[in-house]
């Protein structure tokens, strides 16, 4: 009887999990293990040889000053994206679920930035920052736009954040809206209508009930922002003078342009461990606050 149950469970496991696990292994797990193996060798496409070199690639990671600089830069970027994107997305989504004129138009409008792929997004904003904004600055004497944001390290950072948040908001709004869908509408309305207690309702009712979507949104923002590459390449290309090199960009440069594949790959593994740690820790912390439905 017991054995029968076990057998049934295995059957269940294979039926529900089998296909996913097969594809997951073939596309991610096995290549990952192979990639991990490469970090212990001095493999490169040019030479094709792959002698075992132990941990020396990892030793290089922590002496690579540029890697550490780019990592710190990325952390600042992730933090800014996390705060701004989620703040805007949450409130836009909340507003979009209440009674408001032209909901369909608004929903579609906020969604549209997502229709553009990463590299093209960067080019679009590059044009805006380097052409359109200085043009405006000229015409109307707006000091903030007087010079291209991309020519100054601090402003280039904010240029990256603005372009990323612009797209991320639309993405997160969808998830928050789906989350609010599972909150009973009368609760939502009761919480958001009464002007005087608006913030209390928000804090006591709406936020606790949207923890599942907050978890998802935080997780997605953190992973996406940490791994951002396309927008870095096309918007700033690491410039001005390599001051906006994010960690993925640095890894690609190292592995492919500087022809130091092993060290670049090792840096990517370190990045993976750091991001996984941060993203999953926040998930577990937030989960504790979750209200079981």
């Amino acid at each position: 009887m017991r054995q029968n149950k076990k057998l049934k469970n295995i059957g269940l496991f294979l039926l529900f999990g089998g296909p996913t696990l097969f594809i997951f292994s073939a596309v991610i797990v096995i290549p990952f293990i192979f990639g991990l193996y490469l970090t212990f060798t001095n493999w490169s496409v040019a030479t094709g040889d792959s002698t075992f070199v132990g941990l020396s690639n990892y030793a290089e990671v922590f002496t690579d000053k540029d890697f550490l600089t780019s990592f710190w830069f990325t952390i600042k970027y992730v933090f800014a994206c996390l705060v701004f994107a989620n703040f805007f997305a949450f409130f836009i989504a909340l507003a979009l679920t209440s009674k408001i004129k032209g909901k369909g138009l608004l929903r579609t409008g906020f969604f549209t930035p997502n229709l553009i792929g990463g590299i093209v997004l960067g080019y679009l904003w590059q044009i805006l920052f380097s052409r359109v904004m200085p043009y405006l600055g000229d015409q109307y004497n707006w000091g903030i736009f007087e010079k291209s944001w991309l020519g100054d390290p601090d402003k280039a950072f904010w240029a990256l954040v603005v372009a990323s948040v612009w797209q991320l908001v639309g993405y997160l709004v969808i998830i928050y809206m789906a989350g609010f869908a599972s909150v009973p509408k009368d609760v939502l309305e009761a919480a958001s209508i009464d002007g005087a207690n608006y913030f209390q309702g928000l804090r006591k009712i709406i936020i606790p009930l949207s923890i599942p979507s907050i978890i998802i949104c935080f997780f997605l923002t953190i992973t996406r922002a940490f791994l951002a590459y396309d927008i870095n390449l096309s918007l700033t290309d690491g410039g001005p003078y390599n001051s906006t090199e994010m960690v993925s960009y640095h890894i690609v440069q190292k592995a492919f342009l500087s022809n130091d594949f092993g060290a670049g790959q090792a840096e990517a593994i370190v990045l993976f461990l750091a991001v996984a740690l941060i993203a999953i820790t926040q998930t577990y912390i937030l989960k504790k606050r979750e209200v079981e439905a």
């Binding site: 469970n9 269940l12 496991f13 039926l15 529900f16 999990g17 296909p19 996913t20 696990l21 997951f24 596309v27 991610i28 290549p31 192979f34 990639g35 490469l38 679920t97 209440s98 408001i100 369909g104 579609t108 409008g109 906020f110 969604f111 930035p113 229709l115 553009i116 792929g117 093209v120 044009i127 359109v132 043009y135 998830i175 809206m177 789906a178 869908a181 599972s182 009973p184 509408k185 209508i193 009464d194 002007g195 005087a196 599942p212 978890i215 998802i216 992973t223 791994l227 590459y229 396309d230 993925s248 690609v252 670049g264 790959q265 593994i269 993976f272 996984a276 993203a279 999953i280 439905a293």
Partner: protein, 276 residues
């Protein structure tokens, strides 16, 4: 008194929302406006209105992108991958959410972690391994990979929502003699519809716009997807902006249409939630 302040807040909210929307849409406005100009006009005065509605950029883009072929390729890949992703990830998420076995916890953790993987870690191993097996330059290989990269997000999102579904509903089905699989499809899956719609949109965005993976796997011109075709306009030192913008807008239309169709279901989800 209360009523007055309510309508005032609602009014403010509307104003703020529309203003934000306007800011969000300005970049698009510039793209649309300039897609009717020549590249030179765009470079010299990005703000001027087009002198006439030249559709030649659209015609150029349509031809040099081989638009029909590219859209066909993108459609097959996107639709195929997403159907598989939605079903497999929903089933696996169900398994992980309902059976708290140790192996499930470990696997869920592994799948979650994989979303933090920089693509660069897998890039060279993928081309070496799949190249060795002679599987490159084929649509099914790319689709297989899209499924592999898309499943974790699906499992992650479904998992969070399946936990919110009361177990009693399923128990009722078991009592009636339904099998697990049937219960899943008849009871659980329909309840996941709003989430499913969300997931579909998120995955479509990733797959439809993917450039890097497609460029690694596909080479033949007749297999090229829309992003690969759009990139024909980019070059080392200069970009032919005008037809690029036209091509870009054309490549966006299918996803926009899909969103317009699907967003009704998100709204539907809101109503369902109210009835609960």
């Amino acid at each position: 008194m209360v009523k007055k302040s309510n309508s005032l807040i609602a009014f403010f909210k509307t104003i703020v929302l529309y203003f934000t929307l306007l800011i969000v849409l300005i970049p698009f406005g510039i793209v649309v406006m300039n897609s009717f100009k020549t590249t030179q006009k765009f470079i010299e005065s990005p703000f001027s209105l087009p002198e006439s509605f030249k559709i030649s950029n659209y015609v150029d883009a349509f031809q040099s992108m081989n638009f029909m072929q590219a859209i066909f390729n993108s459609l097959i890949l996107t639709v195929g991958s997403i159907v598989i992703i939605v079903f497999f990830s929903a089933m696996t998420a169900y398994l992980f959410a309902r059976f708290k076995w140790k192996v499930n916890k470990i696997l869920f953790f592994a799948i979650l972690s994989s979303m933090a993987l920089p693509f660069q870690v897998l890039m060279i191993p993928l081309v070496i391994l799949y190249g060795e097996m002679g599987l490159l330059n084929m649509r099914p290989t790319l689709m297989f990979m899209y499924v592999g990269f898309g499943l974790p997000l699906g499992v992650f999102i479904f998992h969070g929502f399946i936990k919110g579904i009361p177990y009693e509903l399923e128990e009722a089905a078991f009592i009636e003699g339904c099998s697990r699989l049937r219960t899943f499809f008849v009871v659980v899956l329909p309840l996941l519809k709003p989430v499913m719609v969300t997931l579909i949109i998120l995955e479509v965005l990733i797959i439809w716009n993917d450039y890097l993976l497609a460029s690694l796997i596909l080479q033949s011109p007749n297999l090229r997807t829309l992003p690969l075709s759009v990139f024909n306009f980019f070059s080392s030192y200069s970009v032919d902006y005008a037809p690029l913008m036209a091509g870009l807008l054309m490549a966006m239309v299918p996803v926009l249409v899909l969103y317009l169709i699907l967003q009704k279901h998100i709204i539907q989800g809101l109503v369902d939630g109210a009835l609960k």
